[in-house]
Symmetry: D3
Subunit: 138 residues, 6 copies
Amino acid sequence: MILLTRRATFSAAHYYWNPAWSQEQNEQVFGRCANRNGHGHNYTLEVTVTGRVDAVSGFVVDLKWLKDVIEHEVLDVYDHRHLNLEVPEFATVIPTTENIAIAVWRRLEAPVKAAGGAALSSVRVYETADIFAEFRGE
Amino acid sequence: MILLTRRATFSAAHYYWNPAWSQEQNEQVFGRCANRNGHGHNYTLEVTVTGRVDAVSGFVVDLKWLKDVIEHEVLDVYDHRHLNLEVPEFATVIPTTENIAIAVWRRLEAPVKAAGGAALSSVRVYETADIFAEFRGE
Amino acid sequence: MILLTRRATFSAAHYYWNPAWSQEQNEQVFGRCANRNGHGHNYTLEVTVTGRVDAVSGFVVDLKWLKDVIEHEVLDVYDHRHLNLEVPEFATVIPTTENIAIAVWRRLEAPVKAAGGAALSSVRVYETADIFAEFRGE
Amino acid sequence: MILLTRRATFSAAHYYWNPAWSQEQNEQVFGRCANRNGHGHNYTLEVTVTGRVDAVSGFVVDLKWLKDVIEHEVLDVYDHRHLNLEVPEFATVIPTTENIAIAVWRRLEAPVKAAGGAALSSVRVYETADIFAEFRGE
Amino acid sequence: MILLTRRATFSAAHYYWNPAWSQEQNEQVFGRCANRNGHGHNYTLEVTVTGRVDAVSGFVVDLKWLKDVIEHEVLDVYDHRHLNLEVPEFATVIPTTENIAIAVWRRLEAPVKAAGGAALSSVRVYETADIFAEFRGE
Amino acid sequence: MILLTRRATFSAAHYYWNPAWSQEQNEQVFGRCANRNGHGHNYTLEVTVTGRVDAVSGFVVDLKWLKDVIEHEVLDVYDHRHLNLEVPEFATVIPTTENIAIAVWRRLEAPVKAAGGAALSSVRVYETADIFAEFRGE
């Protein structure tokens, strides 16, 4: 078993806001992130799959295929978008780094499984160089 | 003469939009950046000053002072903000990387000059690791 | 369960010296690190906590709180200090990268636990870009 | 138990080619990597060992020793070489990132074990900043 | 006037060899780089153009256009290639970092000029993180 | 003319202290850097030379030679040392980033000149990722 990782990046806007709270409560919990004009980040994704190395190709999975899956399932939906306003899973879930990692996992788990040969192992999301979240499934 | 540089970062949202153009024209020129919901970046600033090294302190300028100036003049206004909607100089100027470099220069030139001993030499702005603009004054 | 990481940096001096050994023995084992005038590094910390994502806030822990804990418990004590001469845990323990990782874990484990909701998962310490140690508890 | 990692780099040429396939099949599976003139990369290795911290030295292993082992067992054989043409294990195995990680593990496992006190824990190989494979043994 | 830079990467094989010299002379001057099986690198390019910021678009040049020019003029010819064997300008010129910087300049100077509005200012080529060459024209 | 740069790193301890001042004055100007137990950094050097590319070798200078010069003239004296206590030029000059850049220039200018063919163009010193000074000669 080997772990194979592909990195990708996307740029998006977001804000942190709980509609059940007042402006004051939102600012107290979320600080400057509660600004509803939004701010943004260059996010970095690390998508890791695990499986056996195919004896013929030397691949766990074809990295070009994995790149295409990440682009189609994640980047086409997230890149140059406002996460709160344009991405369905963040209509009611706050797009924190933690929740983005979980959402990316859910977008990628089935396509990776369907391809056979490898399983999704972890999704790591960097919001900045100093903050990252990693989800490895339930 | 020596060049001394301080790096700083801020996260902001922006979009590219010329109000004199139709939606189609904006999308043709600006592509995905024309999305008016906004997207965002982790910007990195490199602010360079030039001057003689003070024989007593060994400093061109006090880097703590320079950090404070950058925070007060730039980060307090740009960080966790929507550049188009909340920063005065981008009300009528498109916040491209080039224009952000010029705007940061204009915010920093006078305070650096007022402090004496050093002059602003260049402002470099990274929008991503792959794109940066540098302004060295007129 | 999700892993959430906060990075932080500090600059410190240290040396490697076993007082039970002669100068020759120390130099044989520790090489240039045995120079008792000290040398130093820009250390990078990666502090990882694990827990469930709070459904209301979208947080495992509040990253601002985590930043404050790291600053108060670690950076205030280590940054711009001589680890051997000024940090209590290194009075009798050599401040190798391994021992710094363990010491940072011991400083952070209780405060993270006391806050509830998340547990300390790992502490990684980079001495340089090429050398790092990670401690995950006993 | 603690994890201690040493990073190292080497520059090498390689290509992907299965001699049982036609040129067309190789190009279909391996794309531009099937170019038999070869292309190349700056590879980054992260070699991680695990063990107890020695109470006297503060070391899991002596990092200078680990550096020498990596240089002697891996870099002297791989650096500035054509992996397919000059490295024995890639005479019949395609030098994908996955297979390089496994090959480096096999070169390092015995010497680390023979030294006592620590075991090889993982070998991570970066082909580029965006692609890496990690092997942790069978 | 502002400087605008676009970064790009390519992976290629090369060797250093002067056909007028003996094997011994080549190895004496070029060391391990004289291995004619070739080795390789992940090269990073920084292409900088200079010009006035267009008042309507906020651009010096359209970065998507610049990216396309770099891909068409340089990456399509260099990426996943053996520089000595497959790139015309290195048939008789040794592909050192210096010569690659000059060759990339010559490939980009005319197309940038033809587009109008900006001039090529510098080409920087990183062979590794530790070695880079920069050419600013004659 | 081309610019060729070699990067190198060293780890050292230092402090900022003006013996003509009281403890209070030193702390007021130098803050935490005035701690006389010392602290330290991983310094990164970028040494740039300029010259014509030799038509036979494709080199401005032999980078292995440049590496050896930097190691012999700078790293052997600075690395794993306390700059204030062990490096002659900092006995009476405060080892700020600015002064280190000037001192490295003075150590390298003559040997580069003596080798012929190229001149020292600039010395850049990074104290951390966020602070660097560059000296280009008088």
